[in-house]
Amino acid sequence: MSDTQVTATETTVLTPRIGTTAKRALYWVAGSILVVLVAIASLNLAGTAVEGPPLDPTSAYEAGTQALAEVLRDQGVDVVVTTTLDDTRAALGSSDDSTLFFTNFEAYLSEDQVAEATELAVTVVFADPTLTELLRVAPEVAHAGQNADAVSASCSAPLVAQAPDITAGPSNYRVIEPSAEITACYGNDDDGYGLIVLDRGDTELRILGATDALSNGAITAADNAAFALRLLGEHETLVWYTPSFLDLANSGDAKTPAELAPGWVLPGVWLTMLTLLAGALWRGRRFGPLVIEKLPVTVRSSETMQGRARLYERSTARLHTLDSLRIGTIRRLAVLCGMPTTASVNDVINRVSPLVGQPIEPLRQLLIDREPASDYELIALSDELLALEDRVHAVIRPA
């Protein structure tokens, strides 16, 4: 065809300038920043969950002990919070006017470390020791299970004189070998005690089961506050030691993967991630907008026929289907025998019968009378119709 050249020079730049893009994006950026700020503010205001590590002097959650630590500070006690045994040792130094409070909930400390800790200060409060820890540091005391009733002093130690009733629990301890060095307080009916004081000469070891009394949630109940202040505020310094996983590293030869890996691994991982990101931007950047094209409508021509077939099938219109097939066969037979397509069925049967050497009656049955009672019969009849056509075809036009 003709190849007349047409020149187009009218051009407009479609990509917006950076300034325009920035202006458009400003609304959304500002909106997102606002949403984030509101989310942070509402989280802070709504405050929060009741979860948190138990007996943590920096935690304001219900199980924490920030309230107690703050009151002790107000009372002039120097509260030092430590997380490793080394720090604890350093904080205590050789002072003989200090209290050590520690727990081993997470079992970060080995038994040796626990034993060492119980001898570090003049007064050591060991909260919630387990059975095996007791076997090592105080074999004369045993674990007596969990009990959380309110209990009263039931001993004459000066330590508890001001606090006859405290919240008990979670643990109780029992004295197996009573002696003059052992004082047990806050007992229940089952010979379990919330506090057991062992006098060890240089050190006074206090085994504390009633740790709930120290928590933020319960400190104001009963005589808990008085009890806690007397228990921990005796000396000028209180070292509050919460063991951490750093103690683990010091307790054996095991090293963390971070220590084992060479120094370039972490920056290498970062660089790999950044490279992957840059690669995604490189491959994912679209080369200009899509070109729009209006597609023509597409209609499949046999849709009506297929719809009708499904309709026959769903309503099991066997006779209707068979009649359609019969009409088709009769028309084709008529054409084969040189009759007009409008020839009647009887004429066609009369013409076909001698051709295929079949009596008229079975042909009548096949082409007119029989009604299919099942799909199986329908298929069989339709096959017979095809076979009849083939036979007539073979007779009239032999290959």
Binding site: M1, S2, D3, T4, Q5, V6, T7, A8, T9, E10, T11, V13, L14, T15, P262, W264, P267, G268, W270, L271, T272, L274, A278, L281, W282, R285, F287, G288, P289, V291, I292, E293, P296, V297, T298, V299, R300, S301, S302, T304, M305, Q306, R308, A309, Y312, E313, H320, T321, L322, S324, L325, I327, G328, R331, T341, D375, L378, I379, S382, D383
Partner: protein, 430 residues
């Protein structure tokens, strides 16, 4: 802005100094280095906004043929343009490559050829040109899209023109123009000439022979200067695809072959595409001009999802000609329900004209009647027989109204229609 693979490679190369030194801060230094180098590269890239574009597109091309469009890019800046260019043609324009690397030195112009093999009829458009202009290091590119609109028309293929020579030969036989010199089969008396051995003795004009001493025969020739009006239905049913060709395209093929044949036989052809409004019309053209006008008018027409308005067709035919004419209606005559409008209108046309209804049939229907292998296929065969019966009923109704039906599969319809025309002409029924 767009990153290149080199930028990613440069970034990845940072692993070398990090491993060698083993220091984490080297990562920060490397990132700074990459960003600074990338920014400098970006600043040195030529701004696409300062380029000038010109597109030279073909005007028309026949479907199935290959053409090319040229994009001229002028770089008026002092810097060298290193770019990858995408010429944004529509997918069906069939651009072979649409991402081409291109370097244009300062103050020079380069041409970019895009080879196009369109896959669909109609108007194919190019909306824009997208350019990625890289800096000298090819790390980061400025990407900008510039609208450079242009378009070209893809004409119907007229594949059936391969049948034209054989049908023209048959026309010439009718005409008595061939060396065979058979007795003219037309009905129009042409002339008297001397008897030559081989002539049909029945055509001897005894009266003229008596006047002269030699045998004289009469010759006839087919009628000339008849009217042929072709109406193509562009309604709902023409959108249906049969053997991967929409009905309307088959109708166009048939119309083109018939028009080519009729115009060389000396008849006048009027052509129109209609659904509820006239989508295209060619009147009063003849010879090569007729075909070129027809393909141009057909090119942009696509079927609309509306019902054909048959009532206005007699009026349209009357506008085209007041003489007796051969009216060809290229439409669908499949189901009695869908053909009601056509059947109701036909008597008005057949009263004055010779009417032929050209309809495309779906060969898959006939195939479906023979497949009786499963339960589903037996039901489908029943529905197919039903569809065939409907078709023959419509055809019978059309015949009863005095028109004739030519219905074939898409590949055969143009030829069948042409043969029907030749038969009518030979019988002198135009």
């Amino acid at each position: 802005m767009a990153l290149s693979g080199w930028f990613v490679a440069l970034l990845a190369l940072g692993i070398v100094p990090i491993v060698v030194t083993g220091e984490p801060f080297v990562l920060t230094l490397w990132l700074l280095f990459v960003i600074v180098v990338g920014a400098i590269d970006l600043l040195l890239a030529v701004s696409v906004r300062s380029l000038r574009f010109e597109r030279i597109a073909p005007d028309r091309v026949r479907l199935g043929e290959t053409t090319s469009s040229t994009l001229r890019i002028t770089n008026p800046t002092r810097r060298r343009l290193r770019a990858v260019v995408r010429d944004g043609w529509q997918p069906s324009a069939g651009a072979h490559t649409n991402r081409v690397p291109l370097t244009v030195p300062s103050r020079e112009r380069r041409e970019l050829n895009t080879v196009l093999t369109p896959v669909r009829r109609g108007t194919r458009e190019a909306a824009h040109v997208t350019v990625r202009s890289y800096g000298p290091l090819r790390l980061i590119a400025r990407q900008t899209t510039v609208s450079v609109p242009s378009s070209f028309t893809v004409l119907p293929p007229f594949n059936s023109r391969k049948h034209l020579p054989s049908r023209l030969a048959r026309l010439r036989e009718l005409d008595g123009a061939t060396s065979v010199m058979i007795r003219g089969q037309g009905t129009e008396f042409d002339s008297l000439r001397d008897y030559v051995r081989g002539d049909d003795v029945r055509s001897i004009d005894w009266r003229a022979t008596a006047r002269r001493s030699e045998l004289v025969v009469r010759t006839w020739r087919p009628e000339r200067d008849r009217r042929v009006v072709i109406v193509v239905d562009s309604g709902r049913t023409s959108a249906a695809r049969i053997e991967d060709e929409p009905r309307i395209d088959t109708a166009f093929e048939s119309a083109l072959l018939l028009a080519a044949l009729a115009s060389s036989a000396g008849d006048h052809v009027d052509f129109m595409i209609y659904d509820r409004r006239v989508r295209a019309r060619v009147q009063g053209a003849s010879g090569p001009d007729l075909l070129s006008k027809m393909v141009n008018s057909m090119a942009p027409v696509q079927p609309e999802l509306i019902e054909m308005d048959w009532e206005s067709v007699p009026g349209l035919v009357r506008q085209a000609t007041t003489q007796r004419a051969l009216v060809v209606l290229a439409t669908t005559a499949e189901s009695p329900g869908g053909s009601l409008g056509l059947l109701a209108m036909l008597p008005q046309l057949t009263a004055k004209h010779t009417v032929v209804v050209a309809s495309v049939t779906d060969p898959s229907i006939a195939d479906a009647t023979l497949d009786r292998s499963t339960r589903d296929s037996v039901y489908l065969a029943g529905a197919a027989e039903r569809a065939l019966l409907d078709q023959s009923r419509v055809a019978a109704a059309i015949n009863q109204l005095g028109a004739s039906v030519v219905s074939r599969r898409p590949s055969e319809l143009p030829l069948a229609l042409a043969d029907h025309y030749i038969a009518l002409k030979a019988a002198g029924k135009l």
